[in-house]
């Protein structure tokens, strides 16, 4: 039995004539302890897919199974790192995380919870900013808070919705390492949604491209056979890396071209000649 299973999942927004089928016939299985990346263009329905898995949305057709049981709502077992941080602006960094862990571990004392918060804040190197509000932090720091919040809840599976999309390359690299570090230490199942192929290859065991929506569906998977821990600088010379990377990019380019050719419509222009005003005035 797979850890997470999506069987023939369809998701449609709207009804009747206005219905748009965003996701179409999605089949996906993730085993326990695996790190899977889904790569896709922006607007291809990645966030919808994430929300189906974490339980914020229900599929129109098909089923989402988590440990063999259908996903009917959100659960603390599946932690989410949202694309746009989603921190509560009126709470400090510590309070944001505290609120989350308090819900997950209602039996722990306040002191234990605070220690837990401090531990995870330290893990993302934000101890000096623990009493600051999200507004006072940079984008990278905010994202780190979101990471700490998701991880402090100790979920069995981490779902990341383009967690690093809005960050600069340097911060991005650091955070990738931090996430990998934590994943390696605690061996959780992870699903990463991203638009960056390199990021996917660097972090994941498997990469699955998402064909652009409407009617987005998953493409063939690419296995990444590179030993962990991976080194970013060495990776560039790794033959396996180059090959996989080229294959994925080629595949995505092909989809892009396909889409363009489908969209190319020919508009017939009316045969008009502009009226001449010469000599009239």
């Amino acid at each position: 039995m797979a850890y997470l299973e999506l069987n023939n999942v369809y998701k449609t927004y709207g009804q009747g004539d206005y219905a748009t089928e965003v996701l179409s016939n999605i089949n996906l299985t993730i085993e326990e302890g695996e790190f899977v990346a889904i790569v896709g263009f922006t607007g291809s329905g990645k966030t919808t897919l994430v929300n189906l898995i974490n339980g914020l949305l229900q599929p129109t057709r098909g089923e989402v199974l988590f440990k063999g049981l259908p996903v009917l709502g959100t659960s603390h077992e599946r932690g989410v790192i949202f694309q746009n941080y989603s921190l509560l602006p009126w709470l400090t960094v510590g309070q944001n995380i505290f609120m989350a862990v308090k819900e997950v571990f209602p039996k722990k004392t306040k002191k234990e919870l605070q220690e837990l918060v401090a531990e995870y804040v330290d893990m993302v190197n934000l101890t000096p900013a623990i009493n600051k509000r999200p507004k006072e932090l940079s984008g990278g720091m905010r994202q780190r808070v979101a990471v700490a919040r998701a991880l402090a809840m100790k979920p069995e599976m981490i779902i990341m919705d383009e967690p690093l999309g809005a960050l600069d390359a340097l911060t991005r690299g650091n955070l990738q390492d931090e996430i990998l570090n934590i994943w390696g230490k605690e061996k959780r199942t992870a699903l990463l949604i991203t638009n960056d192929v390199d990021e996917g290859i660097y972090m994941a065991d498997r990469i699955i491209p998402l064909r652009p929506g409407p009617k987005a569906t998953l493409g063939p998977e690419f296995k990444i056979n590179i030993e962990r821990p991976r080194d970013k600088t060495e990776l560039n010379d790794n033959a396996n890396f180059k090959e996989t990377r080229n294959a994925i990019i080629e595949y995505l380019m092909d989809i892009g071209n396909e889409r363009k050719s489908v969209e190319q419509e020919v508009y017939e222009l009316p045969d008009l000649t502009p009226k001449s005003f010469v000599g009239r005035f």
Binding site: N54, L56, G73, T74, S75, H76, G79, V80, F82, N84, S86, L88, P89, W90, M99, A100, E103, V104, N131, K132, R133, K135, M153
Partner: protein, 368 residues
């Protein structure tokens, strides 16, 4: 991370940033930019105040002349040349009996202001004397279980201001207690929102006078047997009902339009419904709720005058009305004094609300 409290921060917080510019003028650390700021924030407003007073003075003077000319003209046509001359002399002498009744000049208003303060001193002394005189008697009456004798003399202007403030705060609290919870409930449920929307839309534009009459109908019946101060009850309930709509609508809107991301966070954390309301929905709609409360307080203060005037409840409203009915020489200028006092207190109340809003909410807004 503790921010130090400086005068600069406090004044900015209260929307009184111009005070800082005045301070830097005295301390001497005023650069070119600061000087320009000083001109813009201090000199120009003060100049405009003088300009306003000047225009007012000239306007009042010309109105006075028109009224005086009319009086003389009237005496001439009705009683002949002799009466006109008498009238002219009478007006020029400043005799009270024949002063033209028109817009008072700034100087007259200032004089009335001082006379109102003097009047307050007199009444206060009178009150103190009364309290002293009846102290022993009252103590005895209380011991016997009777009501103490209270001062029933005329209230001074300051007493009336205090009464008005009491009424407006009672009304504001009533509005707060009614509008915020109902607004939250309406905001949470789309069904409720559409079911009470007609009610809000219909009652929102109803005039304060009509509210007063409605409240009067109800309170009159309810307080038939009690000897409580029904004028006060009627006026504060009317003030509350008139002014609560802004808070109600804003709260409902704030609650209904909470950022979807925050709702998602609440869902992912699996917060219970109560926790969701108190930890996510209320804090995020607080800025809008406070905007509503600010509007409510200013509306409350505005309608208060009209309501007091009609409800015969003591306060600034009835002060204005009584002065108008009085028709004494300084009545007009007393009304203008009341006008400035009303405006000043309204401004002060708004600043207080802004300060509280800034202290509570995470969205810092500066005063306009």
């Amino acid at each position: 991370m503790k921010q130090t409290v400086t005068l600069d921060r406090v004044t900015k917080f209260m929307g009184l940033g111009f005070l800082m510019t005045i301070k830097s003028l005295f301390t001497g650390d005023l650069d070119k930019e600061g000087f320009r700021n000083f001109l813009r924030k201090v000199v120009v407003p003060i100049a405009s105040i003088f300009l306003f007073i000047g225009l007012w003075h000239m306007g009042a003077k010309s109105l006075y002349n028109i009224e005086a000319d009319y009086k003389i003209e009237k005496a001439l046509t009705e009683q002949g040349q002799e009466a006109a001359d008498v009238m002219k002399a009478c007006i020029a002498s400043g005799d009270i009996s024949c002063q033209p009744n028109t817009l008072p000049s700034p100087a007259q208003v200032w004089e009335s202001y001082r006379s109102l303060l003097r009047d307050h001193q007199i009444i206060k002394a009178d009150k103190d004397a009364f309290a002293e005189k009846t102290a022993t008697l009252n103590a005895k009456r209380i011991a016997e279980g009777k009501d103490p004798i209270t001062y029933t003399g005329r209230p001074s202007f300051v007493d009336q201001i205090l009464t008005s403030l009491k009424t407006v705060f009672a009304g504001f609290l009533l509005a707060l207690v009614i509008a915020v919870p109902i607004g939250v409930i309406i905001g949470l449920s789309k069904t409720l929102r559409s079911s009470v929307n007609w009610l809000i839309q219909i009652f929102k534009p109803v005039s304060p006078v009509v509210w007063l009459l409605l409240v009067f109908m109800i309170v009159k019946t309810l307080t038939k047997d009690s000897n409580s101060d029904s004028a006060f009850i009627i006026s504060f309930i009317s003030v509350g009902l008139c002014s609560m709509w802004a808070t109600l609508v804003n709260t409902a809107m704030g609650v209904a339009s909470v950022d979807k991301d925050y709702i998602n966070v609440a869902k992912v954390l699996k917060l219970g419904p109560v926790q969701k309301v108190f930890k996510v929905i209320l804090p995020s709609s607080l800025p809008l709720i406070f905007t509503g409360l600010r509007i409510t307080l200013s509306v409350a203060w505005m309608v208060l005058i009209a309501i007091e005037l009609l409800a015969q409840s003591p306060g600034l409203g009835s002060f204005v009305w009584e002065e108008f009915q009085n028709g004494a020489v300084d009545s007009n200028s007393k009304i203008i004094v009341a006008m400035f006092v009303i405006g000043g207190i309204g401004f002060l109340l708004d600043r207080i609300m802004l300060t509280i809003q800034n202290a509570i909410s995470f969205n810092k807004t500066s005063g306009i």
